[in-house]
Amino acid sequence: MSVVPVVLEWVEATSISTHIRESIWTYPVIESIHVLGLGLFLGLTMVMDLRLIGVVLRNTPVGDVMGRLLPWIRWGGALMAVTGVLLTIATPVSFAANPFFAAKLGLLALAGVNVWIFHTTLGPSVGTWGIHALPPLWARRAGATSLVLWVSIAVAGRLIAYNWFQ
């Protein structure tokens, strides 16, 4: 028997997992907070990405938009991560076998790499290129990449509810 299924079954047998799964209220409440967190996290990320692409808030420098919105985006991301982990803990065995869950994790890793690349390459010079209503092509591409990745993550997340392939 390999290690992964053993770990997943052990997680599923813990009291926190059992409680979230079996209580009438806990799972729906966590899921609702996850959706509200999406409105905050993805909503403000979209505003930031649309500014990078040059379609909204064109008169506000990209650096100002990021500086003001990123703290809120981080709070939203933390809320999504905590509730997301709790939802995963509730039914780890079926999630592990769900291709949409696997896709979501893969896309999350890509989105993480994208954030890291942005903040190590384009981020530090945002004060220079970010003042233009229409940012340079590579900055617009970074915004579009982020937008596509995060929207795909939300779509994959919604589809976890369907186990067409099992």
Partner: protein
């Protein structure tokens, strides 16, 4: 026509039948509805945070609201189109669903508040305590709509 007859009529429309009979149409509508929820959340929240004296403090409320307005409207159109699609396909399931009734009531109030009171305040560029009340009310109303909306599926 009673409410039940209307729900029943929706249930038998060609589009409702097509969505019901398709494996992937309903999930696709759900996914689009969720993406539109996020887009609406962003367009509304960025202005509400500003009304509360948070977020994009350097931008006037009026400018921010005017800039985000087309995105708010587009998100709402997508939310309504996908929402109507999901509703008609399962309308008989939503008949007597208290979460659905609550969601629709909250949605009507939130829409009226957003395009009535909130728009008047943002176009007058009002900040201070009045702006904070408008921003907080807006966040509470849309949170209620989304919360009740999620509950529709649990009913």
């Amino acid at each position: 026509m009673t409410v039940f007859e209307f729900f029943n009529w929706c249930h038998e429309t060609a589009i409702a039948v097509a969505i019901r009979e398709s494996l992937w149409l309903f999930p696709a509508l759900q996914a689009l509805h969720l993406v539109a929820l996020a887009a609406l959340g962003g367009a509304v929240l960025v202005v509400d945070l500003r009304l509360l004296g948070l977020g994009l403090k350097g931008v006037p409320v009026k400018t921010l609201a005017r800039d985000m307005s087309p995105w708010m409207t587009r998100s709402l159109v997508l939310i309504i189109v996908t929402g109507v699609g999901m509703f008609v396909s399962e309308s008989l399931r939503y008949y007597g669903n208290a979460a659905f009734t609550a969601k629709m009531a909250a949605f009507v109030v939130a829409l009226a508040f957003t395009y009535g009171i909130r728009r008047r305040w943002t176009s007058a560029d009002v900040t201070g305590s009045g702006g904070r009340v408008v921003g907080a009310t807006s966040i509470l109303l849309w949170t209620a709509v989304a919360g009740a909306g999620r509950a529709v599926g649990f009913w």
